[in-house]
Subunit: 111 residues, 2 copies
DNA sequence: TCCAGTACTTGGCCATACATAGTACTTTCA
DNA sequence: TGAAAGTACTATGTATGGCCAAGTACTGGA
């Protein structure tokens, strides 16, 4: 039971939410997302991101198209499907409820 | 990939944080915590709470004492150890960072 | 004595984050 | 021309934690 492990646990599910948000803003590929997540100090490694994208695609929330690149292999550019859009709305509600509940408990402690 | 499952995943780790907070306010036993969590609309079932308390106790973050009850079997009243107190402080930081990072990504989407 | 209520325990299941190693394609440069 | 370096993606195995469900143990009332 160390702090590091708990950080991992806290991130679970939230990462999915963040990724959907990033994709909802326009077509991006994996490295774009990694940059954005890193900028927000939400550290993510390849081995986490790629399986997640595959999972979301298989669930019908995302779709992608191959785009040629000048500096390496072609890239998968992702965007949300209609279903993905709906799912994101549901997730937003869940997240806000969760934050609200947590703040409620925390604020009681500090009073 | 349904919403319900994602809600479960989002809760991971956060629950631990909330429980430690509740216990930090004074000696309580399981049903007290369940009431408090339910009041905050963070639904938790026994099968989640009890194993969590055992885990935290084994990790040395909690300690408990048995107290007789007039309406049923004796109860375990929990309180934080010094180590638990330190751990909670670390967790608070993690939680705030996480919320901050997430808000950063969300706010970009809405602009 | 039997039943309902309360408090706690235990074992098994599932999903996700992560580490690690590997594939495949492209450009660069000796 | 062909070996090295870089980029993008894939695959496999591990650990953790929330949850379900069934079970134990103690109490007081009918």
């Amino acid at each position: 039971m160390n702090l590091e492990n708990t950080q991992v646990q806290m991130r679970k599910g939230i990462l999915e939410y963040c990724i959907l948000h990033i994709i909802s803003r326009g077509e991006v590929y994996a490295s774009d997302m990694l940059d954005e997540l890193t900028a927000a100090k939400m550290i993510v490694v390849e081995g986490t991101l790629y399986p997640l994208l595959t999972r979301l695609k298989n669930a019908g929330l995302l779709e992608y198209k191959w785009v040629e690149s000048k500096s390496g292999p072609p890239r998968k550019y992702y965007k949300l499907t209609d279903e993905g859009d709906k799912f994101l709305k549901g997730l937003s509600e869940t997240w806000e409820d969760l934050v609200h509940s947590t703040q409620m408990i925390i604020s009681k402690s500090n009073s």
